[in-house]
C-alpha cells in the first residue's frame, strides 16, 4: 500500500513513515501543504494522512483542492484539535476519517488499512470467514451447520468485524462505527460486548475466529 504523510512535525512524520514501512507499506512524506498537494496530484496513493495544521496550506484546504479536482483518494485527518466540532469540520471538508492527537500507531494503521480497503467500494451482501457466515439481507449468522442467534447490536458488531476481516479494528473504531459514539467511555465497555460475541461464535468451536490483538484491538481472521 502506498501512503502519503503530510505532516510538518518531522519527528512525528519520520516515526509514522518508519512504522508504515516496517509493516510493509510504502510511505512518502511532505512537510507542508503545497508539497503535499503537489505529491498527491503527481503520484497515485492509496491513502493520504494529512495533518490539519500545516505551513503554506492547511490540511482542510488541501483536501478541498483535491476533492475539487476530482481526486478521491481517501484522506485521514490528524489533528491536535480533538473536539466534536473539529471532527465534523474535518469530515465536512472531504476527509474520510479523523484521528485526534496523540494517537497510537496501532490505531492509525488500523484506520489507514480500513480506508484503503474501502476504496474498492464493494459492499457484499454476505460475509464469510472460515466456516462463519453472515447474511446481511436475512440477518442470519451461522457457523458450520449451526445457526447462531445474535442481538441486533451483536449482529452489527460482527458485521463490522467481518467486513474488515483480516484487518485490525480498534475499540474506538467499533464505538464510532457500530454505536456511532464519539466519546471516551471511561471503562472498556467494548471488551464486554466482544467477550459476549465471542462466547456465541467461538465458544463451542475448536478454531477461534475472533482474536484480540494486544495493544491495538480485535480481528476476525480465517484460521487458514
Amino acid at each position: 500500500m502506498r501512503i502519503l504523510i503530510v505532516e510538518d512535525d518531522r519527528d512525528a512524520a519520520d516515526y509514522i513513515a518508519r512504522a508504515f514501512r516496517e509493516v510493509g507499506h510504502v510511505a512518502d512524506h511532505a512537510a507542508d501543504g503545497e508539497e503535499g498537494l503537489a505529491l498527491a496530484f503527481e503520484r497515485e496513493y492509496d491513502v493520504l494522512v494529512v495533518d490539519r495544521m500545516l505551513p503554506k496550506r492547511d490540511g482542510l484546504s488541501l483536501i478541498g483542492e483535491l476533492r475539487g479536482k476530482k481526486v478521491e483518494t481517501p484522506v485521514l485527518i490528524l489533528s491536535a484539535l480533538g473536539q466534536v466540532d473539529d471532527r465534523i469540520k474535518g469530515l465536512r471538508a472531504g476527509g474520510d476519517d479523523y484521528l485526534p492527537k496523540p494517537y497510537s500507531f496501532a490505531e492509525l494503521l488500523a484506520r489507514v488499512e480500513v480506508l484503503a480497503r474501502r476504496r474498492g467500494g464493494r459492499e457484499d451482501m454476505a460475509y464469510r470467514v472460515g466456516d462463519l457466515e453472515l447474511d446481511r439481507l436475512s440477518h442470519r449468522v451461522s457457523r458450520g451447520t449451526e445457526e447462531i442467534m445474535l442481538q441486533p447490536r451483536e449482529f452489527r458488531l460482527l458485521e463490522y468485524l467481518m467486513k474488515h476481516a483480516g484487518q485490525v479494528v480498534t475499540r474506538t473504531m467499533l464505538l464510532e462505527n457500530v454505536w456511532d459514539y464519539h466519546f471516551d467511555p471511561q471503562t472498556n465497555v467494548i471488551d464486554v460486548h466482544i467477550s459476549r460475541l465471542r462466547s456465541k461464535i467461538d465458544k463451542n468451536f475448536a478454531q477461534p475466529l475472533l482474536h484480540t490483538i494486544r495493544g491495538a484491538g480485535y480481528m476476525v481472521r480465517d484460521p487458514k
Partner: protein, 514 residues
C-alpha cells in the same frame, strides 16, 4: 486619558497629528513636566486639567455661547440704532412739512421768524435756511459738511452749532428741502444720543460676554478637576489591580452618574475575572499535582526497568506498562481539555436530539458491563425527551454518570448470589427542563462531600482502588453549566442519585431555582 494625549506621542511610523493652535498654545503655556513621569503623560496637574474632556467640552460650549450672545447683542444694537434713526426721520419729516406749509402761507419772513424762535430753544433740532445764492438766512448751525446744502434729501453730516462754545464737531442726520423762490430749508437732529446708546449697549454686551467667558472657564476648570479627581482615583485603583492585586475594586461615589455606572460595571467584570483567575489557579495547581504524580510514576518505572531488567521480556513488560500509563495521562488530559472547553462555552455546537433515545443507546452499551458486575441496568425513558444541546457532551456526561454507578453502585456486603442491585437511568421532561438521572444502590456520597466531588481531581478515599481520573463528575457539572442547567447529587436511600437538569430550549434559559 483623552484623545489628544494619544496624539501627542504618536506610535513609531505614524505621522504626528497636526498640532492645532489650541494645542500649540497649551503646550507653550503649560509645558510638559518630565519630572512627573509617564503615568500622568508628563504634564503638570494644571495642564492635565486642561486636557480633560470636561474642560474641552466647556470651552466648546463657551465659544458657541459667546458667539451666539455676540450675534444677539449685535442684532439688538443694530436694531436700536435703526429705531432711533427712524424716529429722527419721522420727526424731521413732520417738521419740514409743517415749516413748508408756513412758508406757503406767510412767505420767507414768517418762516424765518418761526425758525429763529425754534432754533433758540434748548435741545432743539437743527435748522438752517439759505438763499438761492447759498448764503445763510437764519438757523442755529455755524458750519456744515461740504456740499450738504447743495443736494436735497437725506444725508449724514458733521456740524457745529452757533451756541456751541467749545466748537467741537457733532454728527447729525439732516434733510434739505427746496422751497419755491430758491430758498433751501435744512432740518436735522443730532446723532450723538444714538451713538451713545449704541456704545452703551455694545460695552455692556462686551463686559457680560467677558464675564461669561471668565466664569465659564473657571466653571469648566472646576468641573474638570472634579471629574479628573474621580478618574484619577479609578486610574489609581486600576493600576494596583494591574499590578496583580485582583481584589481591588474601583471607587463608586453613589451618585449613580455615568462614572458610577462605569465603575459598577467594571467591578462586575473584575469580580468575574477574579473568579476565573481563582479557578484557573486551582486548575493549574491541580494539574501540576495530578499530572506530576503519574509522570513521576512513569519515569520511575522506566528508570527501574533500565536498572533491573534482565532480558527482552522485562523490557517489553516495562514498555507496555509505560504505554498504558501514558494512555491514562492522555485520557486525563483530554478530559481536562473537554472541561475547559465546556466551561469556556466554546464547545457549544448545538443540535436538537431526543435524550430518551440517548439514554436507551447508552443503556444498551453499558448493559453487558453492569451485568458482568452483578448489577441490573434499568432504563426508564418512555416517550421522547427533546433537548437542544451538544449531543456529544451530553452523551459523555451521561456515560460518566452510568460508569460511576457501575463502579460504585454495588451495595455494601453484596454477594453475587444475592439479589442484584439496580441502576436506574431515567429520562423525562418536566416543564422547560429535561431531567436525566442515574440512581444506584451503592454507598452513595455523604452529604458533606457532595459539593466537593464535582471539583476537579477529587476522588473519595474508597474510589482510589478503581481506575479513573477524578474528573468524571467535574465534566458532568461543566457540561450542565454549559447548557445552562445543573448537576444535582441526591440521596437514593440507599445510594446516589445524580440528576442532570438541562433546559429543553438550549443554554439560554435561567438556571432552575432550588
Amino acid at each position: 486619558m483623552t484623545q489628544s494625549d494619544v496624539a501627542i506621542t504618536p506610535p513609531e511610523g505614524l505621522p504626528a497629528a497636526k498640532p492645532t493652535w489650541l494645542r500649540r498654545w497649551r503646550d507653550r503655556l503649560f509645558p510638559a513636566d518630565p519630572a512627573i513621569g509617564p503615568q500622568s503623560q508628563g504634564y503638570s496637574a494644571f495642564g492635565k486639567i486642561l486636557r480633560t474632556t470636561a474642560f474641552k467640552l466647556t470651552l466648546v460650549y463657551l465659544t458657541v455661547f459667546a458667539l451666539f450672545a455676540a450675534c444677539l447683542l449685535g442684532y439688538f444694537a443694530w436694531n436700536t440704532r435703526r429705531l432711533i434713526t427712524e424716529q429722527i426721520t419721522r420727526t424731521v419729516d413732520v417738521e419740514i412739512v409743517w415749516l413748508a406749509g408756513q412758508y406757503e402761507q406767510g412767505g420767507i419772513r414768517r418762516l424765518a421768524s418761526i425758525v429763529n424762535a425754534r432754533a433758540r430753544r434748548p435741545g432743539s433740532s437743527l435748522y438752517l435756511i439759505t438763499t438761492f445764492s447759498g448764503d445763510g438766512l437764519t438757523g442755529n448751525i455755524a458750519s456744515l459738511g461740504e456740499g450738504v446744502m447743495s443736494r436735497t434729501g437725506w444725508s449724514e453730516t458733521i456740524y457745529r452749532r452757533i451756541d456751541d462754545t467749545e466748537g467741537s464737531e457733532h454728527h447729525a442726520l439732516v434733510q434739505v428741502f427746496e422751497l419755491s423762490g430758491g430758498f433751501r430749508l435744512l432740518v436735522g437732529r443730532d446723532l450723538d444720543e444714538r451713538e451713545r446708546l449704541y456704545d452703551i449697549v455694545i460695552a455692556a454686551g462686551q463686559w457680560s460676554i467677558a464675564l461669561v467667558i471668565i466664569l465659564g472657564i473657571a466653571g469648566g476648570f472646576f468641573v474638570a478637576r472634579r471629574v479628573l479627581r474621580r478618574v484619577d482615583a479609578i486610574t489609581e485603583t486600576s493600576r494596583t489591580i494591574m499590578a496583580g492585586d485582583l481584589s481591588g475594586r474601583l471607587p463608586v461615589s453613589g451618585a449613580d452618574d455615568e462614572l458610577d455606572r462605569l465603575g459598577v460595571n467594571l467591578n462586575i467584570m473584575l469580580e468575574r475575572i477574579e473568579a476565573l483567575m481563582k479557578g484557573f489557579k486551582e486548575v493549574s495547581d491541580n494539574i501540576a499535582h495530578d499530572l506530576k504524580t503519574p509522570l513521576t510514576r512513569l519515569r520511575n518505572r522506566s528508570e527501574e526497568a533500565l536498572r533491573t531488567a534482565k532480558g527482552e521480556a522485562d523490557y517489553r513488560a516495562a514498555l507496555e506498562a509505560t504505554i498504558d500509563e501514558s494512555d491514562e495521562l492522555i485520557r486525563t488530559f483530554n478530559a481536562l481539555l473537554m472541561i475547559a472547553r465546556a466551561e469556556s462555552g466554546s464547545a457549544a455546537h448545538l443540535s436538537d436530539f431526543d435524550a430518551a433515545e440517548l439514554v436507551h443507546g447508552l443503556g444498551e452499551l453499558y448493559d453487558p458491563l453492569a451485568d458482568e458486575k452483578g448489577l441490573i441496568l434499568k432504563i426508564d425513558a418512555e416517550g421522547a425527551a427533546q433537548l437542544r444541546g451538544n449531543r456529544e457532551l451530553v452523551t459523555q456526561a451521561l456515560s460518566n454518570l452510568v460508569d460511576n454507578a457501575i463502579k460504585y453502585g454495588r451495595p455494601v456486603g453484596m454477594t453475587t448470589s444475592g439479589t442484584p442491585a439496580e441502576i436506574v437511568v431515567k429520562a423525562r421532561t418536566e416543564g422547560d427542563y429535561v431531567l436525566l438521572s442515574v440512581a444506584d444502590n451503592g454507598q452513595g456520597i455523604a452529604e458533606g462531600d457532595r459539593a466537593h466531588v464535582v471539583e476537579r481531581f477529587v476522588r473519595l478515599e474508597r474510589s482510589r482502588s478503581e481506575p479513573g481520573s477524578g474528573l468524571g463528575l467535574s465534566l458532568v457539572s461543566a457540561v450542565a453549566r454549559l447548557h445552562g442547567g445543573e448537576l444535582r447529587l441526591e440521596d437514593n436511600h440507599p445510594g446516589l442519585r445524580a440528576v442532570l437538569i438541562l433546559p429543553r430550549g438550549g443554554p439560554h434559559l435561567p438556571t432552575p431555582a432550588e
